[in-house]
């Protein structure tokens, strides 16, 4: 559906969630298939894309979204601290995936672990953080969305160059 309008901050972040979920599902399908050795290259490519997408996603949340929420909702500090902790766990898993390098059963297990960890994190954001953000009186989610998008594009361009 090409004619989507611009997204607010929650929608932009959720678009990342859904898109990376698709990548995880693709990866799991290939990893479970009987001829898994034939899909090494594709799995490696998917794993690297997942890692890159999640790294950028975590960074824009940490730089822009979480601070904005922290300001709007002083009582959300526990939620946000937990979210940061989960980011830290995810980053470690991402490092592990990257250090495996080429897809193999060890990477399959790590990617599955990352998938489960991200699912958990996404669910908390969607169930707890987004409703808060959407009801905050002084939070301009559209403007925040714009900032997130700009920074995301910047980081992706950097990643593309270094790749």
């Amino acid at each position: 559906m090409p004619e989507f309008a611009d997204k607010d901050a929650c929608e932009l972040l959720d678009a990342d969630h859904i898109a990376v979920k698709h990548l995880f599902v693709d990866y799991a399908r290939l990893a479970a298939s009987a001829d898994a050795t034939e899909t090494e290259a594709r799995r490696t490519e998917l794993a690297m894309k997942i890692c890159q997408e999640l790294t950028v996603h975590a960074q824009i949340e940490e730089e822009i979204f979480y601070p904005a929420l922290r300001q709007a909702f002083p009582d959300a500090v526990d939620l946000l601290d937990e979210a940061l902790e989960e980011h830290q766990d995810a980053k470690e898993l991402i490092d592990d995936v990257r250090s495996v390098g080429t897809a193999n059963p060890a990477m399959d297990t790590l990617v599955a672990e990352l998938d489960v960890a991200i699912d958990h994190h996404v669910k908390e954001e969607r169930d707890e953080l987004f409703p808060k953000a959407r009801t905050a009186p002084d939070l301009d989610l559209m403007a925040l969305g714009g900032k997130l998008r700009d920074r995301q594009q910047e980081l992706q361009a950097e990643a593309a160059m270094s790749a």
């Binding site: 559906m1 989507f4 932009l12 698709h22 599902v25 799991a28 990893a31 298939s33 009987a34 489960v116």
Partner: protein, 812 residues
């Protein structure tokens, strides 16, 4: 009666008279044998009977009945050649025939095993009759004294009709009451005589007829097909050496380890006895109370909470023999086997929200699917394979192969394919075939044998026992669907509804009066049990206890959970959440979560969170703490993603949504393209019937959104056409149709402006990145380019579901 030969003398004549007179009595007889040369039939029968009996002066096999060695190789029973058929007949008068009697029984034949044609009924061109064959003149009115007068007791036509009607129902099966069945055949790939001498595996290409019944376990006869439950997968092989029933399930393990607990399990899962609720559901107190006190059920609970418990079709589920069986070859060498049925079309499941909705709109979903696949030639097909291992190997395993709560991982023992089964004919009559079919685990043939699995032993008893009451007596083996194609000859007699008319007066063995027949077949042809010893435990006597390894309740539950993809793990957690949320007693939830902690901490935590538990209960104490290390830590073969099948789409259903003004060229093109792949594409409109298309032609919708909601279809096509889109857009059904397709992660294709229908249904803006990325199963074709997108659409269908869209709670 032929005239006697002229006597040689008066004395001889008198002697003949004596013999004839004596032979005309049914008791007492002369002391000396009568002459065998007599032309008098009665005399000849007496004489030949005498010779026949005399030719067996003693029972020559008696000595061989003793001792272990003889027990392993029983001799065939002694027989005597018959000089004629006279001595073995019931009556001399069998020579008289009639239209009813037929003639004399064919020699050595049980005519009751003839093909089902012998009992098929077709009433074309026939008048209505009573059960006595009397033509009924008036089937509209009872017999009364005067048109307004009292009904008369003499009305045998009314009374016969009502009486039969009153007795149409038989007791339903206590478990597996809800089922559907089909005929087909098993074809052997290559001779497997190295493994077994069982008839179906004797030579490459050998065909054995089968009848297969699929079922749910808990629900009653009329209950929904899509309940969360194990499915029965029972195959009756009509082999040329007798019937073999492989009475399996679509899951390789079970809740319990010993038949002693079977009634308890079934009582716990069935509707609760005080209020008879809930129907066909395990999501209630008594079930979870029981299983959380029976930690050996943990592994099976993983399967039942997984999508395996809500199959897409009977044609897309695996089957398993569950227990360990034996195969025995011609040399008498026996090995252990586990049976596996693998569907060629892949192992595919529904999702829970979909299963719940289907149960409302089409409780017969699986029955209909099986029927329609066969009617349309998309015959369900499965490969039969076995895992083969020796007793010595089994002793080394970390688990006990007699424990029905354990699998043998495919990574430990691979599957050897033996043949394929094709289901290619629907029954003519549900009751006569599907309802009256009677399976039993004890129905095996030479070349097969049992293990000592104590659950299996109990099943051997239970099936026949329940059938005696369900089918009204001990003669249900004579019901046409249950009769073997192999000859049936024994001395079992009488009982309710006996069909066979045995000729002769002998109903015992040994006998000489029937020449020794039917005789015991002996080791060469007959079934001989494997002389399995009870694995060096001779010091043990009668005991009610389990082997030690049965106490490992969690290792394989963990294996199953860890072998699932994250999406499947999520579904398992959600299923536990759903089921336990329906429980009314928090302590039962706590106990179940405490049990799950022993299998997977991650699962237990997720379930607990879903149930709003603020603190985690302590893990249940384990029956043993020191368990053997498992050979396999992860088994990809346990994930549905491992089993996509051959990619065939045959038997799948697609909805093409239309309304007046639809761009019909594409609709017809799409329908044809799908049909070429065996996919049935229904034209679904706001109502059924003719609709004027964009080009002014007419299109006849054969289903409506009202009578066929979206969740009944595997995929959705939204055709172009401004007026049609406007009409669909204002119909509330359209949004539901699209939302369910989206939520259940099914392929959706929209052509041209039909994309607005998807937007209107609430497609979240946050899907944009995924759509750009691709692989969502949402296919957007530009106006006029729908036909070109059909390949992409069918490729998306081959992936079955697109779980990238799945969020919990759902996006849409």
């Amino acid at each position: 009666m032929p005239k006697p030969i002229k006597p040689a003398s008066n004395l001889q004549s008198n002697k003949n008279g004596v013999a004839k007179a004596a032979a005309r009595n049914t008791d007492s007889a002369p002391s000396q044998p009568v002459p065998a040369t007599s032309s008098d039939a009665a005399v000849a029968k007496a004489a030949q009977t005498g010779i026949l009996v005399a030719s067996m002066p003693f029972n020559p096999t008696k000595a061989g009945e003793h001792g272990f060695v003889n027990g392993l190789a029983p001799q065939a029973g002694a027989t005597v050649a018959l000089a004629s058929r006279l001595p073995t007949g019931s009556t001399l008068s069998e020579e008289n025939s009639s239209e009813k009697l037929g003639a004399v029984a064919a020699e050595g034949v049980n005519a009751g095993i003839e093909p089902l044609d012998r009992v098929r009924v077709d009433s074309a061109g026939q008048a209505l009759t009573t059960n006595q064959g009397v033509k009924v003149a008036d089937n509209q009115n009872s017999l009364k004294y005067g048109v307004r007068g009292p009904a008369l007791l003499e009305d045998f036509i009314l009374r016969e009709k009502i009486t039969h009607f009153d007795h149409e129902r038989i007791p339903e099966r206590i478990v597996h009451a809800r089922g559907s069945a089909a005929h087909g055949f098993f074809e052997c790939y290559d001779a497997a005589t190295d493994l077994t001498k069982a008839a179906p595996f004797k030579e490459a290409g050998k065909i054995t007829p089968v009848f297969v019944r699929f079922s749910t376990v808990a629900g009653e006869r009329g209950s929904k097909d899509t309940a969360r439950d194990a499915r029965g997968f029972a195959v009756k092989f009509y082999t040329d050496e007798g019937n073999w029933d492989l009475v399996g399930n679509n899951m390789p393990v079970f809740f319990i380890q010993d038949a002693m607990k079977f009634p308890d399990l079934v009582h716990a899962v069935k509707p609760e006895p005080h209020n008879q609720m809930p129907q066909a559901a395990s999501a209630h107190d008594t079930f979870w109370d029981f299983v959380s006190l029976m930690p050996e059920s943990t592994h099976m609970l993983m399967w039942v909470m997984s999508d395996r418990a809500i199959p897409r079709s009977y044609a897309t589920m695996q089957g398993f023999g569950v227990h360990t069986f034996r195969m025995v070859n011609g040399a008498g060498t026996s090995v252990f086997v586990k049976f596996h049925w693998t569907p060629m079309a892949g192992t595919h499941s529904l999702v829970w929200d979909e299963a719940v909705k289907i149960s409302g709109a089409d409780p017969d979903y699986h029955r209909r699917d099986l029927w329609e696949r066969i009617e349309s030639g998309a015959y369900p097909e499965y490969e039969l394979g076995v895992q083969v291992f020796t007793e010595e190997q089994a002793e080394q395993f970390s688990f006990d192969v007699l424990d029905a709560t354990k699998i043998v991982p495919e990574e430990l023992v691979p599957i050897r394919p033996l043949g394929r089964m094709v289901l290619n004919r629907n029954p003519d009559n549900f009751f006569a075939e599907t309802e009256q079919v009677a399976f039993c685990t004890a129905h095996i043939v030479p070349g097969l044998d049992f293990s000592n699995d104590p659950l299996l032993a109990g099943r051997h008893h239970s099936y026949v026992d329940t059938q005696i009451s369900r089918l009204g007596g001990p003669n249900f083996h004579e019901i046409p669907i249950n009769a073997p194609v192999a000859q049936v000859h024994n001395n079992q007699r009488d009982g309710m509804h006996r069909q066979a008319i045995p000729r002769g007066r002998v109903s015992y063995e040994p006998n000489s009066l029937a020449g020794g027949c039917p005789f015991q077949a002996g080791v060469a042809q007959g079934f001989v049990s494997v002389a399995a010893s009870i694995s060096a435990k001779e010091e043990q006597g009668k005991v009610r206890a389990k082997p030690e390894k049965f106490a490992d309740h969690y290792t394989q539950a963990t294996l199953f959970f860890e072998s699932q993809s994250p999406v499947e793990q999520g579904h398992i957690a959600n299923a536990f959440r759903f089921e336990l949320s329906k429980v009314t007693v928090p302590a039962i939830r706590q106990r179940t979560v405490a049990m799950l902690r022993n299998a997977s901490e991650a699962l237990a935590t997720k379930v607990a969170k879903g149930l709003g538990m603020t603190t985690m209960p302590e893990p249940l104490p384990k029956a043993i703490t020191d368990v053997a290390a498992p050979e396999v830590m992860k088994s990809p073969a346990l994930s549905l993603l491992h089993r996509p099948g051959d990619g065939s789409l045959a038997g799948r259903k697609v909805a093409i949504l239309v309304a007046p003004g639809v761009e019909a060229d594409f609709v017809l093109k799409a329908q044809t393209a799908l049909l070429a792949q065996g996919v049935v594409a229904r034209i679904v409109g706001p109502h059924i019937g003719l609709m004027t298309t964009l080009s002014g032609d007419e299109l006849d919708a054969d289903a409506s959104m009202e009578n066929s909601p979206g969740f009944l279809f595997d995929a959705l096509i939204l055709a172009d056409g401004a007026e049609a889109i406007a009409a669909l857009s204002q119909d509330g059904h359209t949004g539901e149709f699209i939302r369910d397709q989206f939520r259940h992660c099914k392929p959706i294709m929209c052509v041209g402006d039909a994309r607005h229908l998807v937007r209107k249904a609430g497609l979240p803006i946050s899907m944009d990145k995924s759509l750009a990325q691709g692989g969502t199963g949402l296919i957007v074709a530009e106006a006029g380019e729908g036909g070109d997108a059909m390949d992409a659409f069918m490729a998306a269908m081959r992936k079955h579901r697109h779980f990238g869209r799945e969020m919990d709670p759902p996006l849409l």
